[in-house]
């Protein structure tokens, strides 16, 4: 569905942010991009809908190569929507509804269609009733939802979110992951960059690890979180449940090389261990 081949990008002659990144995301997947600050996650994301043009390498969407003329860019930007990390960077209109309408209007849809989409998108993210509100009167979590609605209203096939949980309170994080999971079930391919490793195994079917502009790991959460060398290079940790079971193993419990990643897996494992003893 979305494929990136050997992308290189430099901000200046001294600093190469991406040193040849290749990755492939299939339709309907929900994947996570992990990596420390400054690893090039945001830079990579801005390549996915043609904001940045790579020095080398290519981007493919549905097998079609991304071109950088005005018409194809509009087409690809409709297909691949980016939700920026800071909603203030994205929400610019004086009212919520106008901001959500911005994307669909740029697509040249009829006013009626746009109105439908605005209504639908706001309802989808649970922000109906805030149509006339000024964005700067909203809370951080609400702004995030509006930002997502603004992308949803364009009916994208792929939604890319740059650290969507940054700055949200715990309940906000839970609500947001739930929303994203639902959107994924409705058929939108989702790519998320994050530091919150605890949530990753919960939603991601595949994980990419980016370090200093290079992809050093790719696989299921289980595969990635069982490779300490990769985690160390990326300044990452295993989810807190996994850590617990790793410590239990040091105490003499046999894990058979299988560490739980989520609370549900941990519960099953626990019961199994208890029943054995």
């Amino acid at each position: 569905m979305l494929e990136v081949k050997n992308i290189k990008y430099s901000y200046n002659s001294k600093y190469q942010a991406l040193k040849g990144v290749s990755l492939k995301v299939e339709r309907g997947e929900m994947v996570s991009l992990l990596g420390k600050n400054g690893a090039g996650k945001s830079t990579l994301f801005l390549h996915l809908n043609g904001i940045y043009e790579p020095e080398e390498g290519k981007v493919f969407i549905d097998g079609e190569e991304l071109k950088y003329d005005k018409k194809s860019l509009l087409k690809f930007r409709q297909k691949v929507g980016i939700v920026f990390q800071n909603p203030d960077d994205q929400i610019f209109a004086p009212t919520v509804e106008e901001d959500v309408a911005f994307g669909p209007l740029n697509l040249g849809l009829s006013m009626e269609e746009v109105q439908d989409r605005v209504e639908e998108a706001l309802a989808r993210v649970g922000m109906s009733g805030f149509e006339k509100t000024a964005p700067h009167h909203l809370s951080g979590g609400q702004k995030k939802r509006v930002a997502i609605a603004g992308i949803l209203a364009m009916k994208p096939e792929v939604m890319v979110l740059d650290e969507p949980t940054a700055g949200l309170d715990p309940q906000g994080v839970v609500d947001l992951s739930k929303l994203l999971k639902e959107l994924n079930e409705e058929g939108i391919t989702i790519i998320i960059s994050t530091h919150e490793v605890d949530l990753v195994p919960d939603y991601a079917s595949k994980v990419f690890v980016l370090v200093d502009g290079l992809l050093i790991g790719e696989g299921t959460p289980k595969e990635i979180f069982s490779q300490p060398d990769i985690l160390e290079k990326a300044n990452l940790k295993v989810p807190i449940v996994t850590e617990l079971f790793q410590q239990l193993e040091e105490e003499g419990f046999d894990m058979e090389g299988d560490y739980p990643l989520t609370i549900d897996e941990a519960k099953d494992k626990f019961l199994k261990l208890l029943n054995k003893g």
Binding site: L46, N49, I51, K70, L74, R77, Q78, G81, I82, F84, N86, D88, D89, Q90, I91, F92, A93, P94, T95, E97, E98, A101, F102, G103, L105, N106, L107, M111, V114, Q115, V118, E119, E131, K132, A134, P135, H136, H137, G150, I151, M154
Partner: protein
Amino acid sequence: MKFDMDYIAHNNALTETNPFFKLFLTIILLIVTLVLDNLYFDVFIFVVMSIVILAIAKINYKSYLKFLSLPMAFLVITCIFLIFFFGKGEVIYETGIFGIVVTTDSWHYGVYTFMRVMGCLPCLGFLALTTPIAKILHCLGRLKVPKIMIEIGLLMYNTIFIFLNEIDTMQKAQNSRLGYHSYVSSFKSLGALASTIFLRALDKSETLQHSLDSRGYDGELPVYEPRKGK
């Protein structure tokens, strides 16, 4: 209490009143006040519009006083200059310093300017305090004001709040480290603040451009018409 004009504009008894009506009323009153140039009428307009703002729009009197106080400082300074340093004609008061005098002419200018501004302020206040900027911009758009001006206004309006927040945060950070403890450090801190905010502005504008482009921006902001009756 913090003075937040935008919040007031969104939350008063007249927010939902037809913005065209408010815009035209304001413009007509301004023109009438300026054309008549009558001291009594100035006072009359000041009183009437203040009553409208306080009693009908139900705006808190403290907020209204704050709104008046900001331009008032400029007004007082301007009028002092007018009275003492301008005009010819018969001298009515000698200060005895550097031959600075008040003449009939300058006194007339000073007083009339002051009253004229006093009359016009609540008229503008009526519009500014009861109408969200978004609505004013929409009206201007319908009245065929060039699109580019409206777009600049719209983007400026939005970014102003982001900047006020940034400045507020930075100032608190500086204050926490005694950045405004003495005159010297105040100047230094303010300088640092100004240059940092400039750099951030560049940064922010680039990110905003990226996010607009991501949603298919082609250099022109489309106008959304919400469904009627909602």
